[in-house]
Amino acid sequence: MTQLELKDVTVYYDEVCAVKNVDLTVSQGDFLGIIGPNGGGKSTLLKTIIGIVAPSEGAVIKAPDLRIGYVPQFSSFNKSFPISVYDVVLMGRLSKGIRIGKKYKKEDHDAVKRILKTLSLSGLAERHISELSGGQLQKVLIGRAMVSNPNMLILDEPTSNLDGAARSEIYELLKLLNKAMTVVIVSHDMAAISSYVRQVACLNETLYYHGDTEHVGDGIERAYGCPVDIIAHGKPHRVFIEHEGVRL
């Protein structure tokens, strides 16, 4: 079932073209990895999907029941803010519309406890946000995105400054979550992409390839404009097939 469809989406920032004529379909249960060079428009594409950047041309069509949870690339939040892990996740329960005297309800608190448990963060619930490691913080942000009970989780380079172990942990977690929801992830981590995701999109302004990981072919090479080695290490679940001239 199609959850999200981009039709000929083009995004300009003033004169700079970030995304050009992109057609993309995401179906329920997909685990889509978006890859591409720096400045290739990946974050912009995600922002367009979420609706915080408007497409200059084209359309983003969402299924009526689509609920997106989003983990941004650069967390813009105030790191010294007096707030606990629990309250950060609770914030994800805010829903559109402002109500006078708003208080979180029991179901909001239940949802937070459930998520903290799923992410094995319960022990850190009362911890101040500034006292977390990078990996823990990333999990908290994933928790905040998940607590609103989304059916599509969108993550922009969630593992970029994590060590190998923390990275695998996040990917294992996403794999688990993917059983219940669609996952869209931007990453430069080719090893992880090749072992975990099931669809890839290669983006460098335009879309060079979109489809199953097995048939990616030279889409990556063309997107990056140079040969790219994809070496799966750790415990590969799937490796891209060999392609002439490029060791994938």
Binding site: I83, L94, Y104
Partner: protein, 270 residues
């Protein structure tokens, strides 16, 4: 001081003014410190001097002129922030100085003997009148209402406005209301500590509280209490030693900040 307090209206007024001022300081101070709006707030408060001068010129209550100017300054700051990113600093500085200059011009074109402006510049909590108190109370009620009836949203806005944007909230509206609240609270504080010193009273109690408290509501509460203590000590000192109350209160807070840093470093381990 107790018997003086009971027999002198002005001391009682000063007491109530301290309470009202510390509430405004506590709430808005925490917000300003968390949102890093200290310079913006300085700009708003100094610009309000223009309104005070205009008030004198037109023969209306100077503080009303101050309120009008600080609200206009809040809009000005937003405009500056949203348009030309590169010259934000310069424009803010210009507004800051132009507001002060306007005040001086208004006062000097007014005929007759020039009024003494030091109570607006440096505050004089011992001259707060009953009317001033009602005015401060009204502004405080607006402030408390807007902050606490929408507390969860403010918390999210202060922590991560990007999240609110993703959840489809109108961030610009939050920003506008916040700046208006800052403008209002500055006016509440002008009589007590003055235009020039107001920034210190907004930031010092909040910064001290932040050393010891890790939750927003507690932080606000603790800042209000600290502000009140600073006001009381400053008030007593200035009454007995007969020095400017605004300056004394600020020096007390500064000393208290130094003391808190010391305690935090050597005795307090959270």
């Amino acid at each position: 001081m107790i018997s003086d307090f009971l027999s002198y209206q002005f001391l009682q007024n000063a007491f109530w003014a301290s309470i009202l001022a510390s509430v405004a300081c506590g709430i808005i101070g925490v917000i300003i410190v968390e949102k890093k709006l200290v310079m913006m707030s300085g700009g708003i408060s100094h610009t309000s001097f223009g309104g005070i001068g205009l008030g004198y010129l037109l023969g209306i209550k100077p503080i009303i002129g101050g309120l009008i100017f600080s609200v206009l300054a809040a809009f000005g700051v937003i405009k500056i922030k949203r348009s030309t990113k590169t010259s934000e600093d310069t424009l803010l500085g210009m507004m800051w100085a132009a507001g002060m200059a306007l005040g001086i011009v208004f006062i000097s074109i007014r005929s007759g003997y020039p009024p003494d402006m030091t109570s607006y510049l440096f505050g004089d909590i011992l001259t707060v009148s009953r009317t001033d108190l009602w005015f401060m109370l009204a502004l405080n009620i607006i402030l408390i209402g807007i902050v606490f009836l929408f507390f969860e949203y403010w918390k999210a806005y202060l922590f991560d406005e990007e999240l609110l944007r993703v959840l489809d909230y109108n961030i610009e509206r939050f920003e506008l209301v916040l700046y208006l609240l800052v403008a209002i609270s500055i006016v509440v504080l002008i009589k007590a500590v003055g235009i020039i010193l107001v920034i210190a009273m907004l930031t010092i109690p909040a910064s001290i509280a932040k050393m010891f408290v890790g939750e927003l509501k507690k932080l606000i509460f603790f800042s209000c209490i600290l502000g009140l203590i600073h006001f009381m000590i400053g008030l007593m000192l200035s009454y007995y030693v007969n020095i400017s109350s605004g300056a004394t209160i600020i020096l007390v807070s500064t000393a208290s900040y130094g003391f808190a840093t010391f305690i935090k470093k050597y005795f307090y381990h959270a």
